[in-house]
Symmetry: C2
Subunit: 681 residues, 2 copies
């Protein structure tokens, strides 16, 4: 009997929220007709004892505004009014009412008259008529379908803790909109690739450990000593598909790296992975340009930039959120192909970074030939340094020397330690100011200032008051790694200038190919590499083809000088992805592994499946991997991939929402014949 | 100098296969014009010393036939002819020649005259003009791009070992075609769901272990004692998305189960996972029917059935492979919605199986009321059994008693042990034969045979010579599990009858919803379940909602009698997927976990993220998961999901191509603070 009472109680609670009327279909939305909609109670405005308004929020649907008024007490209208008042804000509800008005999207600029084609409209429950962005309903009845608790406080721009990701997605327009745009970008890319006769192929996630370059996650099996590994990329499988006769492969592939997470990296990420047979790197670059430009055309026509407080994001043109939208002239936002191409050497020389932001309106120039020794020895302890510099000119027209020197002071005060404590010297920034001796350039001395003013160093001519000139020394040796100190500082100056309004916010996207990377890189301590004995590892992976015949010869004589047929795609200072032509001749691949990288027999044997596939008449092939999270982040104007991933991991690799990773039990480990070290855990 | 020689040698080998002319674009294919195509040398026919033909195979492209002839020795034509002869068959080649003829696909039945619209044709290298299915070229030159080795023997229908999956994909038309059709099916499903305002959301693969039902793979982390788990499905994440305000979610999700693999299961598989908020199970069933019927219309219009020897598969109508195609009248192959619905009770009664094949033209009927005791005690030791049977009538019109008794004899001889040694008795099959006493029904005795003939048992009236009547006893108790012995036998009879030509091959697809499953199932030893102390576990997962108010009450009083709002989609005897309405009220969910399943506090705490999400005003929701590998297998007429997965795992969970799982080293395990048991490994 007690159990029965519990059942009765549960039944009552459940049935209160369990049964609800079906929603209407698009065809039903005629003025004067009774319809039902489902959504969240988003806003209530109580005007008087007999009049109230409320908004119903419907994901991926129009806004619904309801009016609740009544004349007679104890009428159905009265009951509905009372129900509306009593339902907690943000609760899910089912609303039945009379259509008072349909608001049409007149901004789409379409020729047809805005009205509902009821005859052809969908009768599917939950569908809405096209081109309607708002519906006004006179309330007949409202039913809560669950209750939003009072202890959760919602306010504009609220940041919920990461454990409440569901609330953040619900209440942050930028976040939710980015999650909606993401699959549309993926779908458009799929369309383009299908049109190009590519085939999407799913490859295994349960792979095995191979010395490809990064550290892999292991997945123990119940067979003692055997484990799968999660793939760092589908690289080897896709090359096997090329040997299988597939002309074009692509996949939105989940990839995994058990690395110490650097800023804005995720242990699992999605890449648009592709590979083409009978193709060179050139063919792949053209293909990537083609799908990127298809995407740009789509984004330009269907989406607009929304500014909401601090946030900038991309929203569907049709959505209500486009109130604050910036309508650029179509075609102006995205660079169209062919994208410029520069070698690693060139970008390091011109921008001091291997992923330059081409929106930045100033480049690096070498200036040591015009600088007096005294100045050089002031800015560095190096004996024979290279000194480079740039000139930054604010575009605002303001630029009084006061604000500019304040700008420079703040920049120098907040310099990151790597720049401030650089053993080769910190950057030096001078503000051009006619009211000062030597126009503010006195540290350069009379001669140096004169040479600068006279344009003897390119990039510095015609100095104006308010210009900032920057100098930085570095060692006189060939470029290595991703950036120089000055390259890093140049990015900082640009970001600071934009945030201070000294340069306009630039919403355009400037693409760039960076090519001619070195094939091998000396071993370091962070990357496991291929574990060979050569003292260096493949820069990208051991399957990358050499660039030219000359580079093939260098393999045997001076491998660190050999360049690879590798290409990186960069946009606005962000590396979107990289690719390469692969070695398609088995003997060459084995030679690189065995003789150049000096891998052991056991190491080479780990790749036997790939060598077998190449040996079976594999055609020439090349490919690319586009960081999809990164692409969506850049295109929707956020710096963080966490803003485009529904359930991202923290910097420590934790999912703070579901609290993963979790503690494993002794029993779970025993299933896999494993145990933690004695004394551990 | 030695190193230099090696470099020189490598350079020569590499450059032989490295540089090759660009392929032509669709626009270039005009008769008389010189074009270049890339592909595999697929067939050579040497006609004379001066004349040879060859086929070039191009994935996802038209067939290319080349003619090589020459008059003058030492002419370019002579050189090309010699090159063609010398290149090993199946090698990748670049071919340059003059377009002799374009063959147009006249079978598509399109109104427009078949010709190339050169003005609008693509200039993209590697593209081909539309509607051209074969191109004849007069050979000018041919260059090998790698060499196919002599030791790999290719013959029609060859089965390569699993380690050479790349060769199987290259040389098996059915396999390669299925891999090409698979993404087209996925793309069509995406289109339908996008049209229904669903949003594709990617959820984490690095999840955590929760007692949801199946055994999960663990992924150790470098933090001692902590591990991720691979998701058995995105169930919990998608429910959190419903709490996040997403109206419709879907994902082609990779899922993982560390189970002992039964026939044709994979440790990783792809499911089309979807969830709808403000929705009931009814809404989800309608939605699934809608996307399945969109898909059916697409497959009907763009694909046809190909019979090639033993193999039946689906191929694009436009492809050359459609030579042997069976063109059914559009619309006849796929059942259109609404699909029939039957309860678990009904399908077990009528078909003896919870995933009945509706193509089978005979049902089970209860017959114990007309059978003499003597016969019943002959077929079973059970005291008060239920006896069911069916009548199978061959449709061929042949069916002489000789062949039918041979058919039955063979069936009984090859009975699987579970049926032959069934403690409740084996099936009994009699062939109706007028030339024999009591028309072959003498085991039934005069009375039983008479009752059967007179139609006292439904399904047995109007017996004809050649009919087979089957009887099987079972215990008189309520249904449990997936099938009865007679249900299994019915499937065997059907399959044998089709393979012997006694029933026609049925290429149609008959869908069915099975509903009203029990909410809980007594614990067994194979499934971990939810680890509660109740002695039973949730049949599907602990989030499934009860079906009716009555079932809610049964939760507290007699939970094993409660039915769930769960639905399975079945086609042709295959379970395509299942779904359910979920519990969306936090208190109810916690009650089920804590009070009904008797989970521990720690167990319930594992689901705290989900309970929190439900508590935050989560709307009612329901969903579905469609086994995508299985769907593609069924639709392309294969019994095995291995035929629709590029790199499938074996029954032991091994990828025999790349040889995963691999042996882990002590050092790898140490990274994760793990070690194998002393004495193990």
């Amino acid at each position: 009997p007690d159990q029965k009472a519990v059942g009765q109680q549960l039944r009552e609670e459940w049935s209160r929220y369990n049964s609800f009327p079906k929603p209407s279909g698009a065809r039903d939305f005629k003025e004067g007709q009774t319809v039902t909609v489902h959504g969240f109670l988003a806003r209530k405005r109580i005007k008087s004892s007999k009049l109230a308004f409320a908004d119903i929020q419907i994901d991926n649907g129009p806004a619904v505004q309801i009016t609740s008024s009544f004349q007679e007490p104890d009428s159905p209208g009265h009951a509905a009014n009372q129900a509306l008042r009593s339902i907690a804000l943000y609760s899910p509800v089912s609303v039945t009412g009379t259509v008072a008005r349909l608001h049409f999207d007149t901004q789409t600029g379409q020729a047809q008259s805005p009205c509902v084609d009821h005859e052809n409209a969908s009768s599917r429950p939950g569908s809405f008529p096209e081109h309607v962005f708002r519906i006004d309903l006179d309330l007949q009845s409202i039913q809560p379908l669950n209750v939003f608790p009072k202890d959760i406080i919602v306010s504009k721009g609220v940041q919920f803790p990461p454990s409440a990701r569901h609330l953040q997605v619900r209440f942050s327009d930028p976040l939710r909109t980015r999650l909606l745009v993401r699959p549309q970008i993926a779908f458009r890319l799929r369309q383009s690739l299908n049109d190009l006769a590519f085939t999407e192929v799913e490859t295994p996630v349960l792979f095995k450990s191979t010395p490809e370059g990064a550290r892999e996650f292991l997945v123990p099996t119940r067979r003692p000593g055997l484990a799968y590994a999660l793939p760092q990329s589908p690289q080897q499988y896709k090359q096997m598909l090329m040997a299988s006769g597939i002309r074009g492969y692509y996949q939105f592939a989940r990839c995994f790296r058990d690395e110490d997470l650097r800023a804005d990296r995720q242990p699992e990420f999605t890449q648009l992975d592709l590979e083409m047979s009978f193709a060179t790197g050139e063919d792949v670059m053209r293909t990537v340009e083609s799908i990127i430009s298809d995407l740009a055309v789509f984004l330009d026509s269907d989406f607009c930039v929304v500014d909401e407080g601090e946030e900038t994001y991309l929203a569907p043109r049709k959505s209500l959120k486009a109130k604050n939208r910036e309508d650029s002239a179509p075609g102006s936002r995205y660079m169209m192909p062919p994208f410029p191409r520069m070698s690693y050497e060139e970008v390091m020389t011109r921008f001091g970074i291997d992923k330059p932001d081409l929106r930045i309106p100033f480049e690096l120039h070498r200036v040591d030939h015009i600088l007096p020794r005294s100045f050089v020895s002031m800015i560095t302890h190096l004996e024979n340094p290279i000194v480079e510099g740039f000139r930054f000119r604010p575009s605002s027209g303001e630029g009084s020397e006061v604000s500019m020197s304040g700008f420079v002071d703040e920049l120098m005060r907040t310099l990151p330690p790597a720049l401030a404590q650089n053993p080769d010297g910190a950057p030096v920034a001078l503000v051009v100011d006619s009211s000062k001796p030597l126009r503010g350039l006195s540290p350069l001395g009379f001669e140096g200032a004169g040479a600068l003013e006279s344009g003897e160093a390119p990039g510095f001519g015609d100095l104006e008051d308010g210009d900032v000139v920057v100098f930085q020394a570095r060692q006189d040796k060939s470029f290595q790694g991703g950036s120089t100190a000055l390259g890093t500082f140049r990015n900082l100056v640009y970001q600071a200038a934009v945030s201070k309004g000294l340069l306009p916010k630039d919403r355009s996207f400037k693409f760039l190919w960076v090519t001619n990377f070195p094939m091998f890189t000396p071993d370091n301590e962070t990357d496991p590499g291929q574990g060979g004995q050569a003292g260096f590892s493949a820069t990208h992976h051991p399957f990358t083809a050499p660039l030219t015949d000359e580079d093939v010869e260098l393999l045997a004589t001076d491998p660190l000088k050999a360049r690879a047929d590798h290409y990186d795609l960069v946009v606005n200072g962000v590396e979107l992805g990289g690719g390469s032509r692969r070695i398609h001749v088995a003997r060459m691949q084995e030679y690189v592994m065995r003789e150049i990288l000096k891998m052991t027999d056991a190491g080479v044997a780990q790749f036997s499946h790939l060598l077998e596939a190449l040996r079976a008449g594999c055609p020439p092939h090349a490919g690319f991997a586009l960081g999809f999270d990164r692409l969506v982040a850049v295109l929707t104007y956020t710096d963080s991939v966490r803003d485009v991933i529904a359930f991202p991991k923290s910097m420590k690799g934790e999912d703070l929402t579901v609290k993963s990773p979790g503690r494993v039990t002794k029993e779970q480990l025993e299933t896999y014949h494993l145990t933690t070290f004695p004394g551990k855990n």
